[in-house]
């Protein structure tokens, strides 16, 4: 779950991380009265993706009337497919310098890493690619969190690659960074987040550290501990997924592990690695997979049926490839389930099934009699479904 900026900042504040004064507005009228309170403001679209500035989703407003106009424009926008449910109005900061500070999962080290860079305001991925030496890193012990001396060293390491004049003298910077990094790390732990990012971390001309923007991603596996956040997202949740692929949104609603890929051969299989390999086989044979759909370790008839139903929602699908590793599942039962599902869903498209399991030969015979194309190997099945779909298109 990705928090919107204003939600991320509410979390920052609760942890003692300073943010600009701000108000959320859902209508131009609300924006106008917020600006009356705040003075000169920046009006920012609340969407769960980056690049909103380039898309025109961030505007400076000098007067309440300008704020109203900016909000009215931004609230009607669609940014990379996402509707804008609200804008955040914030006081303008007197920016002296922009840093990057983030806590994120480092898979290689199997820990959370703290990243600090004086190349702030840019996408950190770009900095990481072009000038990795400008990012200082720390991998705190997960039980103690980052210790003060570690944070001071992190800051010194980042300073070593910083260019130009520094606004803050070194001792003040070191003193400010210690509690800030500890709070951000603490927040990441408390929210079960895999990313807590402040970019830019603004140093104002008066020498304060303020979170200019905020990004928080809560681990999907831990959402059950954060019903409060899920509830808070509430009405914004629909807008927050409005730019997602609509077939994927529907699959999530049905509780299926589905990724839309845009081709014309529907793919169903059990096990993530197996399904990924099935997509690769289709591509090797010159076909184009429509989707990834993993029905999990087993091969229960009802789940296969639900999967077929999901794949058929995609109007581009011209043929279906089911790849089931049965293990101890009986092949004849899988076959009967498939035939029944095919009949109930009135599937007329080419349906190629490759399955293994006990009694798999009997299963294949049943499929063939039922008008479904059985295959012995996955490569052969991929070849057949690609041929049939190409043939039907002619």
């Amino acid at each position: 779950m990705k928090l919107l900026e204003h939600q991320a900042k509410a979390q920052f504040r609760s942890e003692g991380i300073e943010c600009p004064m701000g108000r959320v507005a859902r209508t131009p009228g609300e924006a106008e009265s917020a600006a009356r309170e705040l003075g000169e403001v920046v009006v920012k679209a609340q969407v769960p993706i980056g690049g909103r500035g380039k898309a025109g989703g961030v505007k400076v407003a000098r007067t309440p009337e300008e704020a109203r106009a900016a909000a009215s424009q931004i609230l009607q926008m669609e940014i990379r497919g996402y509707r804008v449910p609200a804008v955040l109005l914030e006081e303008l900061l007197d920016i002296g310098q922009e840093l990057y500070l983030g806590v994120t999962l480092d898979r290689d080290r199997r820990r959370l890493a703290v990243l600090l860079s004086f190349a702030g305001g840019m996408e950190i991925e770009d900095v990481a690619e072009r000038t990795p030496e400008k990012i200082a890193k720390l991998w705190p012990d997960p039980f103690s969190g980052p210790l003060p001396f570690e944070i001071r060293q992190l800051t010194l390491n980042a300073l070593a690659s910083a260019q130009g004049e520094q606004i803050l003298d070194r001792s003040r910077l070191l003193n400010l960074m210690v509690p800030l990094v500890q709070r951000l790390y603490q927040l990441c732990q408390r929210l079960d987040a895999t990313l807590c990012e402040i970019n830019p971390l603004v140093i104002t001309r008066s020498g304060q550290l303020i979170a200019g923007d905020g990004k928080v991603e809560v681990d999907q596996n831990a959402e059950y501990r954060h019903h409060d956040l899920v509830r808070e997202l509430g009405g914004d949740a629909e807008a927050a997924s409005s730019g997602d692929d609509q077939l994927e949104v529907e699959a999530r609603r049905r509780g299926l592990t589905y990724v839309h890929l845009g081709g014309d051969i529907g793919v169903i299989g059990n096990g993530a690695g197996l399904v990924m390999n099935t997509l690769d086989l289709v591509k090797q044979q010159g076909g184009s997979p429509a989707n990834f759909l993993d029905i999990g370790g087993g091969a229960k008839a009802e789940v296969v049926r639900q999967a077929l139903e999901m794949v058929l929602l995609d109007p581009e699908v011209k043929g279906i490839f089911v790849n089931i590793f049965g293990g101890i599942t009986r092949g004849d039962e899988v076959a009967k389930g498939l035939i029944q599902a095919r009949d109930e869903l009135q599937i007329k498209l080419p349906l190629v099934v490759r399955m293994t399991g006990t009694r798999e030969e009997e299963g294949r015979r049943l499929l063939e009699e039922g008008g479904i194309i059985p295959a012995v190997s996955a490569s052969e099945a991929a070849r057949r479904v690609v041929e049939m779909v190409a043939g039907a298109g002619r």
Binding site: L105, R107, D108, R110, R111, L112, E125, A128, E129, D141, P142, F143, C188, Q189, D192, A193, T194, D219, Q220, N221, A222, Y224, R225, T257, V259, L261, G269, N270, G271, A272, G273, L274, V275, M276, N277, L279, D280, L281, V282, K283, Q284, P289, F292, D294, G297, F325, G327, I328, T356, S377, A378, S379
Partner: protein
């Protein structure tokens, strides 16, 4: 011979009395695994599947001398179960559970490292040493066959497929290890490769990776520095688009890391033959071992 698990291994199962735990413990016993105890807090003193059940891992270890744990407890309690096993002195913990919060695993993983215990998983099928008649986890019994091939893979069903196809061609396994599909794992490809390197009966290793992270690249570096046995590689997810989670929590290309192309290239630089299909894995293994 085998790695990690052999006929001497005394296995306890955390969460044995649950439905998944019951089914798979039964399968493990049928395969020949020496299951000595179950642990279910609050059910200590009872018997399940003919094995004594204890309230804590520490009690089970004292009473039975268990050396290995299989973890089948629900995701909310799994990281704690892993740490409990390590604290009780077990050398190997195999966690099958999926959907464990990542930060829980970060803590559990650090806790284990500080105690010298090894973790396989989570979100994995476990491991099986067919010649030793021992398995911990959910790899189907009929897919195991004794032989000279070491198998290490991130996926479940794909591992079974590889084992079955190798078996049909006459090549069994010393040990097959499913290291898991999560972003934060216990043993890495490199860790398992190092174990296979010193196992006298493993003649060749099949390593099946997938998109996401850079464990495969790290393993390629290890092999490139000089690995004593032939390795046949395989990478699934070559057609996966960036930014999409392909089933496994860990199977995602983020930014510039985790693509199949990068993994295939790294392996080929280390002179690992990379197969495109499971049939090709079997062909390459046959060519090397014939």
């Amino acid at each position: 011979m085998s790695i990690l698990l052999n006929s001497e291994s005394r296995v306890l199962v955390q969460g044995m009395t649950g439905s998944e735990g019951t089914f798979h413990t039964q399968q493990m016993i049928e395969f020949g695994t020496n299951v000595v105890a179950g642990v279910s807090p609050g059910k200590g003193g009872s018997q399940h599947l003919g094995r004594p059940v204890y309230d804590s891992v520490a009690e089970a270890v004292i009473a039975t001398g268990a050396t290995v744990s299989g973890v089948f407890v629900p995701p909310a309690f799994a990281a704690d179960a892993i740490m409990e096993a390590a604290a009780a002195g077990l050398q190997l913990v195999v966690c099958i559970t999926e959907l464990i919060p990542v930060n829980d695993m970060v803590r559990a993983r650090a806790y284990l490292s500080s105690r010298g215990a090894r973790l396989v998983g989570p979100n994995c099928p476990g491991l099986m040493s067919p010649g030793e008649r021992s398995k911990v986890g959910i790899i189907p019994n009929q897919n195991g066959r004794p032989g000279p091939v070491g198998v290490v893979s991130r996926s479940g069903t794909l591992t079974y497929e590889i084992m079955q196809s190798l078996g049909a061609a006459g090549y069994g396994q010393t040990t097959a290890v499913g290291i898991g599909g999560d972003p934060v794992l216990g043993l890495s490809f490199s860790d398992v490769l190092e174990l296979f390197a010193t196992d006298p009966e493993t003649e060749l290793v099949v390593m099946a990776g997938e998109i996401g992270g850079s464990d495969e690249e790290r393993a390629a570096e290890l092999i490139g520095r000089g690995y004593p046995k032939p390795v046949v590689g395989f990478i699934s997810g070559r057609t996966a688009p960036p930014g999409k989670r392909m089933g496994h929590a860990g199977a995602i290309i983020s930014g510039n890391t985790g693509s199949a192309a990068s993994k295939v290239a790294a392996l080929e630089r280390a002179r690992v033959e990379v197969a495109d299909t499971i049939e090709q894995i079997v062909e390459r293994v046959t060519a090397r071992l014939r």
